[in-house]
Structures are given as structure tokens and as C-alpha cells.
Amino acid sequence: MTDVSAPIQTAPSAPERRARLYRMLWRWHFYAGLFCIPFIILLSITGSLYLFKPQIEAALDRPYTNLVMTGPSAPVSQQVQIALKQIEGSSFKSYRLPDGPKDAAQVLVTKGGEDTIVYVHPTSLEILKAIPREERLMAVVRTIHGELLMGDNGSLIVELAASWAIVMVVTGLYLWWPRTAQGLHGVLIPRLHAGSKVFWRDIHAVTGMWVSFFALFLLLTGLPWTNVWGKGFDMVRDLTGTAAVSKDWTQSRTAEREATEQVFSHQGHDAPYYVANVDDIAASARAARLAPPVTITPPNGKNPNWMARSLAGDRISRVEIAFSAQDGSEVSREAFGDKHVIDQAVGVGIAAHEGQLFGPLNQALGVLTALGLITLSVSAFMMWRKRAPEGVLGAPPPIPDQKIGVGIGLLIFVFGLFLPVLGACLILVAVMERLILSRIPSTRHFLGLAQPATH
């Protein structure tokens, strides 16, 4: 696309430099959009759905709440045992405390690294439902949103699209920043009746002005989940000694599955009556009055203690308590405020990304941002189709001599470093363009690339 070159011999004038930069960013914005738009639409739709995860799951679980009780509730340990029998050879992974006394117990059992949620009637001990954890509706939506149902490869594509989308928002802001506008029309209010060209231009520019900040926020807060950026982030924290003891987000399902398979092993002989079992931890966890949903997990290869964890969506009211595997006494308690300040920041970012930080308003902002992103995509497509001549892609024309200043070069370098997937992609594209695409006249013409410099 462009050349990062050493200081130019004949320095162009300031307006010319600006025009050149504008043209260059326009081209970046165009090519990035071409790649990103399908993913932005997919992520916006799945993201909007996922914003309502608590409500949707509450609706899906409604048949398993307020059950008809046929006597006293069975002890938790019996509920767990029934669930374990349902999946032959499985181990107990966690128990979700029912929100109400007449709700089904949700026992998570694991076998061969695959988790299944078993719904158990608290009095009759009937199995009401058993569903692999990854097959639940919201888990599927999440998997599409995070990895396009393609595992780690999908995660990489999402990360790449998100990285390019950040470039798009930044370049878009530069391109449509109101330098010469008079009044709010065409900046914050679209001109809807000034012909179709102005209409689509304004829809794009005005929506962009409104949602850029929120879109950028969603894109940046999504990064900790990604494979390359997220793992790099963890690595930087390890190196700088700011690592979390336990972080509550993982990068991929592959990582999660491996973690599970290694940790839950089989058990030996019976302990005496003064050693805590799941009944005791459930009772203590209930008495601790943690914010819902609350799960308890048995001691395992990774953690010698029983754990009771609040998985509250806002992350701020999350508390986790460790109970001794011996006598069930409380060993330690960690609230959100006890976490490392970086984890607190990431946690708040994630909660806002998921629409769970400040109630319905947070969800509404998420939906509006997603709608804004879809509007941007649709209007971009319309503008492109209206402008693109027959037979070519319709990219903005390249800068004649392809030279840019050192400052911009540095900026690109910094972006490439901060978003490594973007950086790798830039190098790949530059090499491909230089070596192949620009040298074949027909593809060069179609893609709107510059003629390679002849030395």
C-alpha cells in the first residue's frame, strides 16, 4: 500500500502532505473495511444477543425453577451423586447453588474434558435435563462471537478483524473529522433529503461520529479474550510481575478443555465424618450470601481447597471463598477490591463489554453501538457500490510517489506492535503487494494498487 521511507529529498508543502496523508488513510480505511465488514456484522449480531445472556438464560431455565416439591430437599451430596451416575465415568466439577429453594440443582460433571450440566430435581432427584455446556444457546453464540465456530483459527480471524476494525475507527475519525463543517448538519445530524450521495455519506459519517468511542471501547475491551493479544498480555504481566493469581477470563475453549482434563482426577477411600463434603461447603457458601450466580468447586489437582465463587456479571460484586478440604473452614476470601489493579481494570472493561456493569442502560448502549456498527457497514457498502466503476474494486487512487513522513511511519509501527496480528498482516500484505499483486497488471488494475517503482 505505502512506503515507509527515509526523509524525502524534496520536502512537499504542508497542504500537499496533508492531502497525501488523507488519501493514504482513505485507502487504508477502504481496504480494511473490505475485509472487516462481514465480521463486524456477524460480531454485532451475536454480540447484541450475548448482551442479554442473563435474561435469555433465565428464560431458558424457567422450566427448571419453581418446581413442585414432593417432600424435603435431598442433600446436595445425593444430588451430585445422581448427576454423576447420569454421565458414566464422569467426575464432579462444580455445583451451582440454586437461586431459589424450589429451583433445580445444576451439577456440572466432566468426562474426557467435556463438561455437561445436569439439572436435578431437588426433592425427587429426577434428572430434568442434561446438556453439554458448550451446546447451550448462549455458549454457541459466544463461540461464534469469539471464534466463529472454528476454534483457534476462528479466534485468530476475529482478532485480525478486530485489529483492523480499530484501524478503521481511527482512520475513519480522521477522514470525517469536521474540519470545515458549519453547524451540526452532516456532523452529528444526518442530512436525509439532500440526494442519495449526501444521504449515505451522512449516514456513514454521522453514525461514525456517534459510535466511534463506544465501538473503540468494545474493540479494546475484547482484546483480553483473544489468542495472540490476550496471551501476549498475560506474558507481559508475567514478565513485569503484575500477573493475576487467578484470572477469570480465558482465551479459548481449547485452553479451557485442557485445563479441565488435567485437573479433575479420581478419588480414594472415604474420609471420616469431620472432613467436609459438598453438603457442608454448599451450606457455608449459602450462608455467605454471595451475589448470584454462585458455584462451588471441589478440591482438584490445581487447587487444594473447596471454592465458592460468585460469578456476578458486573464483576465488581464477585467474591471467592476458599474452604479447607479438611474441615471445611474458611481459608481465605478474595473480593474484587483485593484483586490486582490491572485485573480490576480488565474486569470492569469486560463487564461493560458484556453489558453487565450498570444494568439495562449498559445493555442498551451495547445494542445501540452494535446497531451503529451495522449502519456503518451498510452505508459503507452503499457508498462503495455507488462509486465503484465497472470492472474494478473501486479503491481510492494511490498516492503518486507512495512516500509518507517518518511520523506516520512510526505511528504505523506502534499500531503494528500493539496489535501484533495487525502487524503480521501488514507485513504479509506489503510483501504480497510488492512481489505479486502489483506485478500482474490485471490484478493491479482491479485492486487499485500503485505501479511498482522501477529502479
Binding site: 442473563p54 435474561q55 435469555i56 433465565a58 416439591m69 424435603p72 430437599s73 435431598a74 442433600p75 446436595v76 451430596s77 445425593q78 467426575s91 447453588l97 440454586p98 437461586d99 431459589g100 429453594p101 431437588p122 436525509l192 453514525t207 482434563e261 488435567q262 485437573v263 479433575f264 482426577s265 479420581h266 478419588q267 480414594g268 477411600h269 472415604d270 474420609a271 471420616p272 465424618y273 469431620y274 472432613v275 467436609a276 463434603n277 459438598v278 453438603d279 457442608d280 454448599a282 451450606a283 457455608s284 449459602r286 450462608a287 454471595l290 448470584p292 450466580p293 454462585v294 489437582g301 479438611q326 474441615d327 471445611g328 473452614s329 439495562p360 445493555q363 442498551a364 445494542v367 449502519t375
Partner: protein, 174 residues
């Protein structure tokens, strides 16, 4: 954008519809009570299976006091056992946990007392008939003022204990 403006009420209805399906906001509720007495609920009773050949074991439960005054549990008994004592686990001077009999267990107003391993429990001595998991064991609690309440404690198994040698079973990479 014209289509989105026209669709706005639809979005609004969908949004409020979903928002109406509120998930739980309060902490998980206590389990269904097995007995009640003067604003006090007894839940999650369970008796641990006595160890092989023994007639002694411990019983656990949760007492939730929703009344405005503190309540006192002062005794317990069972027709199926010689005697039932109120016990506490206390750390002795040597650091070893020891069991001691206690006179009473106080449940503060609007408070909860959790009887569980490592703390308060019902110590059951002289169990008359052999027990197996799933059996019911009748118990009667006595509160201050000679107020009594009876219920059944289900017999539950003791936890399986992990031992060093078992760690390899799960396929750990060594």
C-alpha cells in the same frame, strides 16, 4: 436512518421484554426448611454415615433466624440413639483440633448458624440400628424455653478422600 427509526418501537418492546425476564439478583436462598419454630428455619440437615463398626457420628444443619430476637439451641435428642450432644471443634493449645461439648448454640437475630465440620455439630452417640446412605434418622432439637422441634436427618456418605497415590489416576502429565 428511516428503517431503524420505524423499527425503534419494536426494538424498545423487545428490549423491555427481555429486561422483564430478570435473572436472580439476590444471593441464593436457603434450602427448603424441614422444620420451623418461632421464626426459625431448620434446613440442610444431614447425618454422616458412621465409620465402619462404630456407633458414633456427627450431624450437621443450618439454622436461619428471621425473627428479631436471638435464639438459643440448648439440646438435641433422638429415639434412635443413646444421646445427642452439642459439640464445637476448638483448636487446642497444641494446635490440634479438639471437640468440646457446648452448653448452647446462639443464633443471632436475623442471623444464621451453620453447623458444619470444623465447627459446631450434633454429636450422636450410641446409634442403635446400623445405618446406610439414604436412611432417615429422627432428631429433636430443644431451644431455650423448652421449645422442641423434630425432623428427619437423611444419612449421607462421607467424602472420598484423595490420597497421594491417587493423583496419577486423572492422567496428569508427570
Amino acid at each position: 436512518m428511516t428503517f431503524s427509526i420505524r423499527a425503534l418501537p419494536l426494538f424498545f418492546i423487545a428490549f423491555t421484554g427481555l429486561a422483564a425476564c430478570e435473572p436472580a439478583m439476590t444471593p441464593p436462598a436457603p434450602m427448603l426448611a424441614v422444620a420451623k419454630i418461632d421464626g426459625m428455619e431448620i434446613s440442610e440437615p444431614r447425618l454422616r454415615l458412621p465409620p465402619n463398626g462404630r456407633d458414633v457420628t456427627a450431624g450437621y444443619l443450618t439454622l436461619t433466624n428471621s425473627s428479631d430476637k436471638a435464639q438459643k439451641l440448648v439440646g438435641a435428642s433422638s429415639p434412635k440413639a443413646e444421646r445427642v450432644e452439642l459439640h464445637a471443634h476448638l483448636k487446642g493449645a497444641d494446635g490440634m483440633a479438639q471437640m468440646r461439648q457446648v452448653e448452647q448454640v446462639e443464633i443471632p437475630a436475623k442471623g444464621t448458624a451453620v453447623l458444619a465440620p470444623g465447627g459446631l455439630h450434633l454429636m450422636v452417640f450410641g446409634i442403635k440400628d446400623p445405618l446406610k446412605p439414604g436412611d432417615s434418622f429422627p432428631v429433636e432439637l430443644t431451644f431455650a424455653g423448652n421449645r422442641k422441634v423434630g425432623f428427619a436427618m437423611p444419612v449421607v456418605e462421607n467424602p472420598s478422600q484423595k490420597t497421594e497415590g491417587d493423583m496419577g489416576h486423572g492422567g496428569h502429565p508427570h
